[in-house]
């Protein structure tokens, strides 16, 4: 304790912030956890008790292993600590096993692996230029950024209540971004390659990495006007990057290639049999599309344009993951979403190639990739918004315009996570934490940019304030009305449509700012 005191006593605010949030995470241990808890317990059991050849075939539980091999190895490593807590959780047949020791172990494993995230945040803070540094600690961009990242509402509730390992994965991503900022490109590429083999959802941002490394690392020089100088291409750099990616992939997929199991692994990783939207619609373009479809079908029924007997009964927001047919608008196929996503990503990639603006430009492109795939992807989870929110925090402390986009994106994105926690004891926690984070982020960024124009116009203010009444209606009014039994899906539908508007707006605004930004011109690196 005395050592702790020495660590924190010297005004070391960063460790105080990190320790504080760690302690808060410990307090969240007894809260509700979702089926993801059982998913990860099952993976612990699979990797611990079965040979590698069985990992991607085992199907006793419905929660089969569907993350890339590194994550499986990660679970394997964890399981060797887990056996000292409770041997029983490592039995594949012990479905839904959840002793208090299992709970403690799993929760602590998330809290402990978050140290990587803390380190990554520490590194990220170094990349922020402290030009605007205020006199007071609480007004310094570094301080604000570390609060925004360490105390991120989304990570807290998704990882430490709902249960997942996003903290350490996001840590890897932030660390690789920080390395690119620090011009340690090979390390950054390595970290990202490793990350890809932990969780393949990061494939969405891979184009940004690929193009950036090719453009700004493999080409060592630019013409004075910022356009590309073709003869400055360095084969050595390209080969070293390729080697890094190849070696990491070989390490991850090699064993399964040797076992001739690659097709099975890939079929587990990319399950296109799932529906367009998750059980609860993630607030993206398809939510708006489906809502429009629903509205049109209701109008059609009212005006007798549609035949009620031909309308499929499956209601999209209730029940398990399922295929879904749109009634009025054309149904969406996986291929269509893929094409939409690619089209949405392309302009940002072009921008990164033709208008390179150093690591910041890369960061913008990465966020746009993440957001675009969130907007148009197939079977997107609402949690995927964290993929854009966390890197966006880095941008937010740099420029007033980015701060405004960040606030809209974060607030709506975080609010859209609310349906993840639907149990009564967690209701105060999610509201309090959300208020805590939102009030802090809005006010601190406002203080940071108080000399510039206001962060929100009246429309945005109105929209963000509207989240309050929406929450009151969905959680406090609706359950007591007679609609609850007839239309149980209304709160979810309202939430996802309302948030979809905000996220689409933020995506659009960010795109506009990236496309219209003048190139940085003469301040070229190298």
């Amino acid at each position: 304790m005395a050592a702790l005191g020495v660590a924190t006593g010297g005004g070391d605010w960063f460790s105080a912030l990190a320790l504080g949030v760690t302690l808060l995470k410990c307090l969240l241990i007894p809260t509700y956890h979702s089926t993801d808890f059982e998913v990860h317990r099952n993976w612990l059991a699979i990797t611990h008790s079965l040979p590698i050849s069985q990992w991607y075939y085992e199907a006793t539980s419905e929660w089969t292993l569907d993350y890339p091999p590194f994550f499986a190895w990660f679970e394997y490593a964890l399981s060797h600590v887990a056996k000292y807590f409770d041997q029983e959780m490592l039995n594949v047949r012990n479905l839904n096993y959840s002793s208090s020791r299992t709970l403690l172990f799993q929760r602590f494993s998330v809290i402990f692996t978050d140290t990587l995230f803390v380190y990554a945040v520490h590194e990220c803070c170094k990349c922020i230029d402290g030009k605007k540094a205020g006199r007071e600690l609480t007004e310094k961009p570094k301080f604000i950024l570390s609060v925004l990242l360490l105390w991120n509402f989304g990570l807290l509730i998704v990882d430490h209540i709902h249960f997942q390992y996003n903290g350490f994965l996001s840590g890897l991503m932030l660390l690789s971004i920080a390395r690119l900022f620090q011009k340690r490109h090979k390390e950054g590429a390595f970290l990202f390659a490793v990350l890809l083999h932990f969780k393949h959802i990061y494939l969405y941002v891979a184009p940004a990495y690929g193009v950036y490394l090719l453009r700004s690392y493999c080409f060592t020089a630019n013409k004075p006007d910022g356009s590309i100088r073709w003869n400055s291409f360095s084969f050595l750099r390209l080969i070293s990057l390729g080697l890094i990616v190849f070696l990491v992939s070989a390490l991850s997929l090699g064993p399964f290639l040797a076992l001739n199991q690659l097709p099975q692994v890939f079929s587990r990783l990319f399950p296109f049999k799932r529906g367009l939207c998750h059980a609860y619609w993630a607030p993206n373009f398809w939510a708006l599309y489906s809502a429009l479809d629903k509205v049109l079908s209701i109008i059609g029924l009212e005006l007798k344009f549609l035949d009620p007997s031909k309308i499929p009964k499956a209601s999209m927001t209730s029940g398990l993951v399922q295929q879904f047919q749109h009634t009025v608008l054309p149904s969406v196929t996986p291929l269509a979403t893929l094409i939409c996503t690619l089209i949405a990503i392309l302009p940002s990639i072009f921008c990164l190639w033709f208008k390179p603006q150093g690591p910041r430009g890369f960061l913008r492109c990465l966020i746009l990739c993440a957001l675009s795939s969130f907007m148009f992807g197939w079977h997107v989870h609402e949690k995927a918004i964290l993929l854009a929110v966390l890197p966006m925090s880095l941008l937010s402390v740099g420029k007033a315009g980015d701060a405004s986009i960040f606030l809209i994106l974060t607030t709506t994105g975080h609010y859209s996570l609310f349906p993840l926690l639907f149990t009564a004891p967690e209701l105060p926690i999610k509201i309090l934490l959300m208020l805590l984070f939102t009030i802090y982020s809005v006010s601190s960024l406002k203080t940071l940019f108080r000399k510039e124009k206001p962060l929100f116009n009246w429309m945005e203010t109105f929209y963000l304030l509207g989240l309050g009444p929406l929450e009151v209606f969905c959680e406090f009014v609706f359950p007591f009305t007679s609609w609850k039994l007839k239309y149980p899906f209304i709160p979810l539908l309202l939430t996802s449509v309302y948030c979809a508007v905000g996220i689409t707006y933020a995506w659009f605004k960010l795109y506009v700012s990236v496309l219209t930004d003048p190139p940085v011109g003469k301040t070229k690196k190298q």
């Binding site: 304790m1 702790l4 302690l23 805590l436 802090y440």
Partner: protein, 507 residues
């Protein structure tokens, strides 16, 4: 205020911590036949809503006083009644007469926890925020840091939201009283304090400093002029607020007496369970409870308490000042806790509240005291299965204090408020210059012992012959610490700043 948002964030953080702690177990969860304080509070709701007010404090066929009979003053009873109405609206089973005994369910737990949070939010938290905003001569940032530390004090959180009680109500009223009296809203202050006493009789621990401070103020204004008017006004306020609270019980003499008998159960013995006070610690060596007759025990405890109170109270009456008032609150409450009759381990919260108020003046000592006070309740917290939240909140509190006050750099004589004392000592022992060092070492030793004892209690089984070994040790260690703090607080009150200023001039 420009940094309003940081204060809001601090309050929200305090609320979040409170609610997450409340997800844990409560006292007597699933332990029939008596359960614990949680059941007591529920039972009071059951009694107050189903029985006429005349039967609340009397034993009867519908009200078995042996089973968590009402033994708090009327305001608590009214509060229970209010909660009972809400409970009846939600689910009448929760408070049905007789049949609801030992009722436990997730929904009910949620309801009970919510009542605590709401009471806290309405009374205690606003008082803390206001207190910190009104502090003088410090920056906004420090005010916010101060509020953070007070709101994160683990003892109160763990007892109210873990163990289950409504201490934040009585302590909140007391804090409103302190606020009022310190800023010359004497009538409102005394009204708030009367409410506190009428919510929990334990608030009497604070009554003497209030009395002395107000009396001193009257003296200062001159007993023949304005002071007398103030005195009369104060007396009227106090009497009126008491009458108002007790009105239903004044109808018959027997009623009033019965309530008083319930409030002060003198026949329950010198102490209960394991308390970190003198008597409990002393009876490790000598069983006072069995040796001395009952009335002598009362006499002894009364004399000790009175003697230990006397110097600081006299000082406060003669030199009333808001700062002296806060310190006297600490020392008086501590004297009561250490020496008085029938003390509960939870009563240490009554000392902790004023210590929280002096966090800014003596951050190092206050933090230390608040850590010890939480530690002294360890046996209770372990019984309620609150180990995890206890450890976490204590660490969070410690980090908050250490970062916001950098307590380890504030151990000079000046910052411990010991300057004038050590100057007086040096008149006789000129080489006496190592005070701060001693205190730093004592802190280290104390913290080490607490950590070690906690680890031992958690991991080791006590020997069969001495099943209470660890809890007695905890009490013993905490009691030693408290005695040291009593001496320390008495010293800094008696050698207060007025002498200090004179000394500075001389130097």
């Amino acid at each position: 205020m420009e940094k309003c948002y940081l204060m809001t964030a601090v309050v929200l953080l305090g609320l979040t911590v409170r609610w997450t702690v409340s997800l844990n177990s409560y006292s007597g969860a699933g332990k029939p036949p008596m359960f614990g304080d949680y059941e007591a509070q529920r039972h009071w709701q059951e009694i107050t809503i189903n029985l006429p007010i005349k039967q609340w404090y009397f034993n009867g066929s519908d009200n078995n006083l042996q089973y968590w009979g009402l033994d708090y003053p009327p305001l608590t009873a009214y509060h229970s009644l209010l909660c009972a109405y809400v409970a009846k609206f939600i689910n009448p089973d929760w408070i049905a007469l007789h049949t609801s005994r030992g009722y436990e369910s997730q929904a009910h737990k949620l309801f009970m926890r919510a009542t605590v949070l709401i009471a806290d939010l309405l009374i205690y938290i606003p008082a803390v925020v206001l207190y910190c905003c009104c502090l003088k001569e410090i920056s906004t940032k420090k005010k916010i840091a101060n509020a953070l530390c007070i709101l994160l004090y683990p003892g109160l959180i763990l007892i109210d939201y873990g163990h289950f009680q409504y201490n934040s109500v009585s302590l909140g009223f007391a804090l409103w009283g302190v606020l009022g009296v310190s800023y010359d809203w004497d009538l409102l202050g005394s009204l708030a304090f009367c409410l506190a006493i009428n919510y929990k009789q334990m608030e009497l621990y604070h009554s003497l400093p209030f009395f002395c401070f107000l009396l001193g103020k009257c003296f200062k204004k001159g007993l023949k002029g304005k002071g007398f008017v103030l005195l009369i006004k104060l007396a009227c306020t106090v009497v009126a607020s008491f009458i108002l609270c007790w009105l239903p019980f004044f109808t018959e003499r027997e009623q009033t007496l019965q309530v008083l008998r319930r409030l002060f159960p003198v026949d329950r013995g010198l102490f209960e369970d394991k308390v970190a006070n003198i008597w409990c610690t002393f009876s490790v060596f000598l069983k006072i409870r069995d040796i001395l007759p009952h009335h002598i025990q009362i006499m002894i405890s009364f004399c000790f308490t009175f003697l230990s109170l006397l110097p600081t109270c006299i000082k406060l009456t003669l030199h009333p000042s808001p700062k002296g008032f806060k310190f006297t609150l600490v020392s008086c409450a501590l004297s009561f806790f250490l020496f008085s009759f029938q003390v509960h381990e939870k009563s240490i919260l009554l000392v902790s509240l004023p210590v929280c108020l002096v966090l800014r003046e003596i951050p190092f000592m206050s933090t230390w005291f608040l850590l010890v006070s939480t530690f002294s309740m360890l046996p209770l917290l372990l019984k309620d299965e609150l180990l995890m939240p206890s450890v976490v909140t204590v660490m969070a509190f410690f980090i908050a204090c250490a970062t916001s006050f950098s307590i380890f750099e504030k151990t000079s004589e000046e910052e411990l408020q010991l300057k004038s004392f050590s100057i007086s000592v040096r008149k006789y022992f000129p080489c006496f210059t190592f005070f701060p060092r001693i205190i730093r070492h004592l802190f280290l030793i104390s913290v080490m012992t607490m950590v070690l004892l906690t680890l031992m209690t958690v991991t080791l089984d006590p020997p069969q012959k001495l099943p209470d070994l660890f809890s007695v040790l905890v009490c013993f260690v905490s009691c030693l610490n408290f005695l040291f703090f009593l001496v320390y607080f008495n010293i800094i009150i008696m050698w207060d700043s007025k002498n200090g200023r004179n000394q500075k001039k001389i130097n």
